[in-house]
């Protein structure tokens, strides 16, 4: 069976692991300015009045945990610290268990009570139908929820008092690694005027800037960099949040320098005529 690691690639793999290990242990601290998209997200969460209702939609599976968990925890910590009512949601088939664990853990750390200060509404099997349905009635989309281990009717919960539909929700923050942010924009913001903010993986964040410019999205976290900036902002006002994205940024610093060196080598090597390509006129 074929190998992906021939001789050349083996030493490259070694260099990558060593560089990242050094970064993780040495934790070189690099002062970077706070990205303005992260500050916008911090401000939009900060603008929600006390006891205002915020949806935290952790729409991602395990593949994006390392990149998005830090954002989910920071947003939850910020919302609970500001005594907001939090509705947890996860539309990713493989992320519901993780999302539930995150909201329960952060709520416990901020001693918020299940059913009174927050509730994990959970999962629904069609995202478009769910968001459209929530535009009219949230309890119809999530008729039953688990509160302290028992199944309860959503409408009776104290946290849901006055929260009939999306118009009653002050802000919805979605963490995602796929293009499904479009569904919150198409069926949440466009249909009901719901204020949106998005914590995005680097793989999809570039496509969100037009929505930030048009105001359809009011805040954006740009992968681990955005998460680290947001952590710093939240920590200034509400201590007790672990700097998990911040720690990864130290490793990113060395890893990015390593990659630039490799690209330089490839182009310097190219100039030395290792493989001169035919000149092509641009497409």
């Amino acid at each position: 069976m074929e190998r992906l690691l021939n001789i050349d690639r083996q030493w490259i793999f070694l260099v990558v692991v060593v560089v990242m290990l050094v970064g993780a242990i040495a934790q070189p601290l690099i002062p970077m300015p706070i990205s303005s998209e992260s500050r916008q997200l911090y401000d939009v969460v900060g603008a929600v009045p006390e006891r205002g209702a915020v949806i935290v939609a952790m729409d991602y599976g395990p593949a994006s945990k390392d990149e998005l968990d830090a954002m989910s925890v920071a947003v939850l910590h910020h919302a609970f610290a500001r005594n907001l009512r939090v509705l947890g949601i996860c539309f990713d088939q493989q992320g519901v268990s993780n999302a539930e664990r995150l909201i329960m853990d952060v709520a416990a750390d901020s001693n918020r009570r299940d059913g009174d200060d927050f509730v994990f509404l959970g999962f629904q099997s069609d995202m478009t139908a769910a968001i459209l349905g929530m535009g009219t009635s949230i309890k119809d989309v999530f008729p039953e929820v688990m509160v302290d281990g028992e199944s309860r009717t959503t409408a009776e919960l104290p946290v849901m008092r006055g929260l009939e539909k999306l118009e009653d929700i002050a802000l919805s923050v979605q963490m995602t690694g796929s293009k499904d942010y479009e569904k919150w924009i198409n069926y949440g913001n466009a249909r009901t005027g719901l204020t949106l903010a998005t914590g995005a993986t680097g793989a999809i964040v570039t496509g969100l800037y037009p929505y930030l410019s048009s105001g359809q999205v009011s805040g954006l976290l740009r992968s681990t960099r955005g998460a680290a900036d947001y952590e710093r902002l939240v920590l200034d006002a509400h201590p007790g949040l672990e700097r998990s994205a911040g720690r990864k940024m130290s490793v990113q610093f060395l890893a990015h320098i390593m990659l630039l060196v490799f690209i330089a080598l490839a182009n310097v090597g190219g100039l030395l005529g290792r493989r001169t390509a035919a000149e092509d006129d641009p497409a």
């Binding site: 190998r3 035919a278 497409a283």
Partner: protein
């Protein structure tokens, strides 16, 4: 044929709707049409209408040709190169199944490449990741050799299935590129993150690389590692032009017409904005 299907579609839709509409009378909400969304309705009619115009124009038999694309033109000299160097051509039809638009377009491009290989007698290797795609690819390549009158040169073992598992397929194609030292490699279809290896290994083997994919996250890597790349809709257009897919070409014509409207709205809108006349702005909901 389309007359009956679309007519049937619309009649059925009305049959479904009439009783529902009547029963809706008693619903508590008063107004029938919500104001404020009128422009959205007009937008749907105009843009949808243009798309329909393109489709009916194509269905009515008018020929629609896709514009010239360097990646498709480069295929010819890429295959010529393979014959000169006496090395094979490798065609990778993407990592997805037949339901994906990218895979369908990739297989159409395979037909063009197979025909050219058959004409000049270049050896064509097609490693596949999906059993259905494999059988379609075999049919396409064999058909091309038959039409070029060189059916005896067709080698069915050169169009083969590696594995349904994505990583195993990636390693398999990687092995083919390293072993066969192809002169030219085609990467046409829908690819995912680890397909980045194909560009690297192909580059390493000194091959000419002609790629095409609709996956935006994969395009940056193909553009930097390959000589030519079909970007997004260019892949669909190239595939449809080769396979003379009237429906796709008609849709592309309709969308091109709609692009003119989009361009006009932007230019006109800005002119009016500067002239302090906000008609277009209010239309767009500003």
């Amino acid at each position: 044929m389309i007359r009956r299907t679309s007519l049937g579609g619309l009649i059925a839709a009305l049959l479904v709707l009439l009783p529902l509409a009547v029963q809706a009378q008693e619903a508590s909400v008063t107004t029938w049409i919500v104001e404020g969304e009128a422009w959205v309705f007009i937008g749907i009619l105009v843009m949808g209408g243009l798309a329909a115009v393109g489709i009916f124009y194509a269905k009515a038999g008018h020929t629609i040709s896709a514009r010239a694309m360097p990646a498709v033109e480069a295929a010819e000299d890429g295959i010529g190169r393979a014959v000169e160097m006496g090395r094979p051509v490798v065609f990778v039809p993407g990592v997805q199944g037949i339901t994906k638009a990218g895979t369908i377009a990739g297989l159409s491009i395979l037909r063009l490449v197979a025909e050219k290989c058959a004409e000049v007698g270049a050896r064509l290797i097609v490693p596949c990741r999906d059993t259905i795609v494999t059988s379609i690819a075999r049919e396409t390549v064999e058909d091309a050799y038959k039409q070029a009158g060189r059916h005896e040169e067709y080698r069915s073992e050169d169009v083969f299935f590696i594995s349904r598992r994505q990583l195993a397929y990636t390693a398999g194609v990687n092995g083919v590129l390293e072993r066969e030292h192809p002169a030219t490699v085609f990467l046409q279809g829908e690819f995912s993150a680890e397909s980045l290896i194909f560009g690297e290994t192909g580059n390493r083997a000194g091959a000419m690389l002609i790629a095409g994919t609709d996956k935006e996250t994969q395009l940056p890597f193909f553009i930097t590692t390959c000589d030519h790349t079909l970007i997004g809709e260019e892949l669909y257009a190239a595939g449809a032009a080769i396979s003379k897919d009237v429906l796709t070409l008609g849709s592309l014509r309709g969308v091109d017409l709609a692009r003119l409207v989009v361009g006009a709205i932007i230019v006109l809108g800005i002119v009016l904005e500067i002239a302090r006349l906000g008609w277009i702005r209010t239309m767009l909901g500003g």
